[in-house]
């Protein structure tokens, strides 16, 4: 039990940068490049952690607290996510609401830090990030409500636990629709391609990246690491919802879970490679579409 808890925490802390590495590798393979090593982000983080930081004279403690609070919030959210069908470290009825609020807290901290610099570009990025995520939010909540209704459980551990398999047999269409909506939300929340381009270098087109322009050194490391943890969280949610593998013992299930997560990273890489970025005015349409899809899923479930 203690061993498994340590394993879960270790997975949460160590795996996320690997996912981004896999995604980037898939993208470079599609582009015909060799691409950076899969473990590149680990080296980047290590390098950044040893560097000094530069702070704008305009900033206050809010700017310094941004990365810390953001990372702490996503890590705490991670303790509520069940790994491979086993209950999470922290589970109580209604914890999915806290999960969503912690993700919002992370965004709140980052947006405040961006506004603290006084730069118009970062203010613009914060405005976009907050606007788009407030449109993605109904979809996320509706997906969670669909899952809660289908499994009859109010906790993430229950939703993604043993009750999931019978729910799939009873309400496959609704769960499938909500999984699609969840994937759209995951792409939007993690600022991946149809919504935001993580590689762009033009402030006017950035969303998430422009908010963190002023962060450097360890602060930037915290932010990059937090972003990868967030991708891990959404990936874990989606992977558990879609592929409920509980073959063999606990450890086989955990191994399958890790493999599925890598599959999720590859899928994100493929989506980023084959899709163009949407015009900014089209992004709200996609997010509202995801919400409408999850409303439809809920209706299918309720009738």
């Amino acid at each position: 039990m203690v061993l498994r808890a340590f394993f879960q925490i270790g997975l949460l802390l160590l795996l996320p940068p690997l996912l981004l590495g896999v995604t980037n590798r898939v993208k470079s393979l599609f582009a015909g490049r060799k691409g950076p090593p899969v473990l590149q982000l680990y080296s980047d983080l290590w390098k950044l952690l040893r560097k000094g930081a530069v702070y704008s004279r305009t900033t206050t403690w809010v700017f310094r607290a941004g990365p810390v609070v953001g990372l702490a919030a996503v890590l705490t959210a991670g303790t509520m996510l069940p790994v491979a069908g086993q209950p999470a470290l922290l589970a109580f009825p209604g914890d999915f609401v806290l999960f969503a609020y912690l993700l919002a807290l992370a965004r709140f901290a980052t947006a405040l830090a961006a506004l603290d610099t006084g730069s118009s570009f970062e203010g613009m990025g914060a405005a976009r990030e907050v606007s788009f995520s407030s449109m993605a939010e109904p979809a996320l909540f509706l997906v969670l409500v669909v899952m809660a209704r289908a499994t009859g459980s109010l906790s993430l551990s229950g939703m993604l636990g043993p009750a999931l398999a019978p729910a799939w047999r009873a309400a496959a269409p609704a769960l499938l629709l909500s999984a699609i909506a969840l994937f759209v939300v995951a792409l939007a929340e993690n600022s991946r391609i149809p919504v935001d381009d993580p590689n762009t270098h033009l402030e006017l087109t950035m969303i998430h990246e422009v908010m963190v322009l002023d962060h450097s050194g360890p602060d930037l490391a915290f932010i990059l690491y937090g972003a990868s943890v967030k991708l891990f969280l959404f990936g874990a949610l989606l992977v558990r919802l879609l592929a409920d593998v509980s073959v063999g013992g606990i450890w086989a299930a955990e191994a399958a879970f890790v493999l599925e997560l890598l599959g999720f990273a590859i899928l994100v890489g493929i989506v980023e490679s084959v899709m163009a970025r949407l015009r900014l005015t089209r992004v709200p349409q996609m997010l509202v579409g995801a919400s409408v899809l999850s409303v439809f899923a809920l209706v299918l479930l309720l009738r």
Partner: protein, 215 residues
Amino acid sequence: MGAWTDMAFILVVVLDLFLLASSRLGAAIRAVALQGAMLSVLALLLTSSGHSLRHVLVVAGGAFLIKAVLIPWLMFRAIREMAIRREMEPLVGYVPSMILGGVGVVLSFAFSRGLPLPTNEMHPFLVPTALATVWTGLLLVVSRRKAVTQVLGFLVLENGVFVFGLLLTEFMPVMVEAGVLLDLLAAVFVMGIVMFQINREFASLDTDALSSLRD
């Protein structure tokens, strides 16, 4: 079998929502074609022992040929001839029309059980899908500006009526259904000719421009 029928109905509704959101005419025509194909699949999937197989095959085959092949081909030809690719900003924006579509879906699923219908043995998704599709078609016809999209809306409307007709396959003679399909084809032909005329006269398919006609 039941799960596949469920998925087919849900795909029809999802295509409705997609049509409300899409601004590219090519994608919208493909979606309408796919919806037509799904309708013919549905006609086959819903076959029960009470139906005559020949009847079902004729209806499904006719629907596939006309709705999924012939009309989309005509529409593609039309947009190629007239060199239009995109809908312009519609009267009701994409986001509001998607939300309206979602509201329509919710209402049709909520209220379809209270309707008095000739048969009770039907798929639970049939009537709501038909209502949602008719609603989507109406929305498209009313809120879009380009004549092409309005024709697409009319097709969606007609698809909804067809879904409703699946309920009545036992009661309706084949000739009536064939007549409906041919009627649709004739209507699309007429609209195509009208579209060509509008385009030739005004070099645009914006139907708003029609209301400013003067002697």
